[in-house]
């Protein structure tokens, strides 16, 4: 799996690099493009993580409380583990 990912990565990066070379972009412009991509990635990361966590309401793990660690909670946790 790792080698496939590595091959794909090399394939895409070499393609992107040759594309950029053909476009005759200045260093400054390339930096600007990378920055814009990073901003988009950062925004995507935030919205992705926010969304994933908001939608995780059905995956809440019931945490045993040390003070009142009851049989009932442990059983429910076991059920949860089995169901996942």
């Amino acid at each position: 799996m790792a080698s496939i990912i590595a091959l794909l990565y090399l394939h895409f990066t070499s393609n992107v690099l040759s594309l950029l070379k053909n476009m005759n972009l200045s260093k400054q412009k390339i930096r600007k493009i990378i920055e814009i991509i990073l901003v988009i990635l950062l925004v995507l990361y935030f919205f992705k993580t926010l969304w994933v966590n908001i939608m995780s309401y059905d995956k809440v793990y019931r945490i045993p409380r040390t003070d009142i660690e009851t049989e009932e909670i442990i059983n429910k946790n076991n059920q949860y583990e089995k169901s996942n």
Binding site: V39, Y45, V60, I63
Partner: protein, 550 residues
């Protein structure tokens, strides 16, 4: 679209600038953080169905919550400073904008689960073995990639990337509301860094480093257990201290937090103003502080602890020392405020007298020092706490009107002797099974008499200032020359008291006592008087003799 984004950026910039320009002092900042942490505790009480408003949980609500948020906020402030190099005062004010977010977790939890399911607590790892640093780093990277805030967490199964489920079940690490709260905090934090630096790499770095901080804070107690090779459970913090059996979970975590908060606060102060920081540190008067710390350690020696100490016992000793240092710095600060006029004459290098710090700044720092010293003393043990409280009462009566006991000869040095005695008793009672009735009475008399006689030496260098202020010390009453003669005789006498009181050790003590009394008299009465050689002489004599007597 661009207009819309510009408008949003402008709104945030306005909010940040208005926070940065608010006139908020150190105390207001602390009170605001305290209020929000208490509100968080109260809301959590409702959202998770765990009764924090039970008296048994008072330490948790009133100290654990605030200590946690103080350390979290101070770490984020330092991180912001490292990334932006903005003025730390401005960053601290802007950080208050994140406070409302800490109320979100219990609100979300309550809205979704009505207090049935979750409880905000430290992430309890399920790794069974003790992890090395390398394992911890791997665990952190897994957390940062696949954890709730992870870059590669898409809400699905993570088994494809990971075959060590036992080491790594990140399902456990936090509850619903908390996860949303944390991602919002990271979002605004990195946005703040982006606004300040206009550097997207730094914004990314802010996300990564805030994950590091949240990992360290979230797993904090279990990083300690891992370090101590104890089972990774809260149970590892129960019944662990032999010095003081009630020094358990909340006490331990708060104590460690307070040690870190102290270090971070010093770093904050240094960054805020190096000149003020150095003036503050130089004002510690190390020989006098050494005397109080020495008294405490002598008390610990007298306690004759019958077992070897573990990490938690050492922690008690560390925070006891911290309490003494904080309490001393508070006493110094209060004294500086009252003696401002005198210090301008005889101690012009002190922060207030030299104008490096103003009265308001010293007052603010004093309030924080006072609260911190009481809190650390309380965590150490109840008996120790009482000695610190009584000592600060004496220090108040010593410096302040209406009594201002420092004005009266002998009574003033008796107060100092009493403080040393209380320090020794505090050290003795650090072993909770000891009682004050076991403390040797002969030693009480020895400390009180010796220190009352010998401490007059500290008034010689304040002669001019004391004279101006009407403080009736021996040099002021009898004049500098005669005063030095009398102080010299009193100090010399103080060296002769141990052999006289302890007749069974007379033969061994008498010769060094006579030698030291002559030396003390000479050092006090020489033309070019300096205080530190006399204090050094006291230390050289006192240390071996005290250990020889008991």
């Amino acid at each position: 679209m661009k207009n819309f984004i510009d408008k949003i950026v402008a709104i945030f910039q306005n909010i940040i600038e208005s926070l940065e320009n608010k006139k908020i002092g150190l105390i207001s900042w602390c009170i605001t953080v305290l209020i929000f942490s208490l509100m968080r505790g109260f809301l959590e009480n409702i959202s998770v169905g765990f009764d924090y408003i039970n008296q048994k949980q008072s330490l948790f609500l009133f100290f654990h919550f605030p200590a946690f948020y103080f350390i979290a906020f101070s770490l984020f402030i330092l991180l912001s400073y490292v990334l932006t190099k903005e003025k730390i005062k401005k960053i601290s004010k802007a950080s208050l904008g994140l406070l409302p977010f800490i109320l979100l977790a219990p609100i979300f939890d309550f809205l979704i689960f009505q207090g049935k399911f979750t409880m905000t607590k430290y992430a309890e790892p399920i790794w069974q073995k003790t992890l090395g640093i390398g394992d911890m780093i791997i665990f952190f990277f897994k957390y940062s990639l696949f954890g709730p805030l992870g870059f590669l967490n898409f809400g699905g199964s993570i088994s494809f990337f990971d075959n060590q489920q036992n080491l790594f079940s990140l399902n456990y690490i936090s509850n619903y509301g908390l996860k949303i709260e944390l991602i919002l905090i990271i979002m605004f934090f990195s946005f703040y860094i982006l606004l300040k630096t206009k550097n997207i790499w730094k914004a990314f770095l802010a996300v990564f480093l805030s994950q590091v901080l949240l990992f360290l804070i979230g797993y904090f107690p279990f990083i300690i257990t891992n370090f101590l090779k104890l089972p990774n459970s809260t149970l590892s913090f129960h019944r662990v201290s032999k010095l003081n059996p009630i020094f358990e979970w909340d006490y331990i975590v708060i104590s460690i937090f307070l040690v870190f908060v102290t270090i971070i606060s010093l770093a904050w102060f240094f960054i805020y103003d190096k000149r003020k920081f150095l003036a503050f540190i130089k004002n510690m008067r190390l020989p006098r502080l050494g005397m109080y710390l020495g008294a405490f350690w002598y008390g610990v020696y007298l306690a004759d602890i019958p077992f070897s100490l573990n990490f938690f016992d050492y922690l008690i000793l560390i925070i006891a020392n911290l309490a003494i240092i904080l309490s001393w710095m508070f006493a110094v600060g209060s004294n500086d405020i009252v003696d401002e006029r005198v210090d301008k004459i005889s101690n012009s290098n002190r922060p207030l007298a030299s104008g490096i710090m103003n009265k308001e700044e010293i007052k603010s720092i004093n309030i924080i020092l006072r609260v911190a010293s009481y809190l650390t003393a309380f965590l150490t043990g109840y008996a120790f706490f009482v000695t610190i409280i009584i000592r600060s009462c004496i220090s108040y009566l010593y410096s302040n009107e209406p009594f201002r006991l420092k004005k009266y000869p002998i009574i003033s040095t008796f107060c100092l002797a009493l403080s040393v005695l209380l320090g020794t008793i505090g050290g003795y009672l650090i072993l909770s099974s000891n009682t004050i009735y076991d403390f040797p009475v002969k030693l009480v008399v020895l400390i009180l008499v010796v220190f009352t006689l010998s401490m007059n030496v500290i008034h010689i260098k304040d002669y001019e200032g004391d004279k101006e202020d009407g403080v009736r010390t021996i040099p002021v009453i009898f004049g500098l020359e005669d005063g030095k003669l009398i102080v010299g005789i009193m100090s010399a006498l103080s060296f002769l008291i141990p052999p006289l009181m302890y007749q069974d050790k007379f033969n061994i003590l008498i010769i060094p006592s006579i030698v030291f009394s002559f030396l003390a008299f000479f050092l006090i009465n020489r033309k070019d008087f300096k205080e530190w050689p006399v204090l050094l002489l006291y230390y050289i004599y006192t240390l071996p003799v005290m250990f020889y007597l008991y």
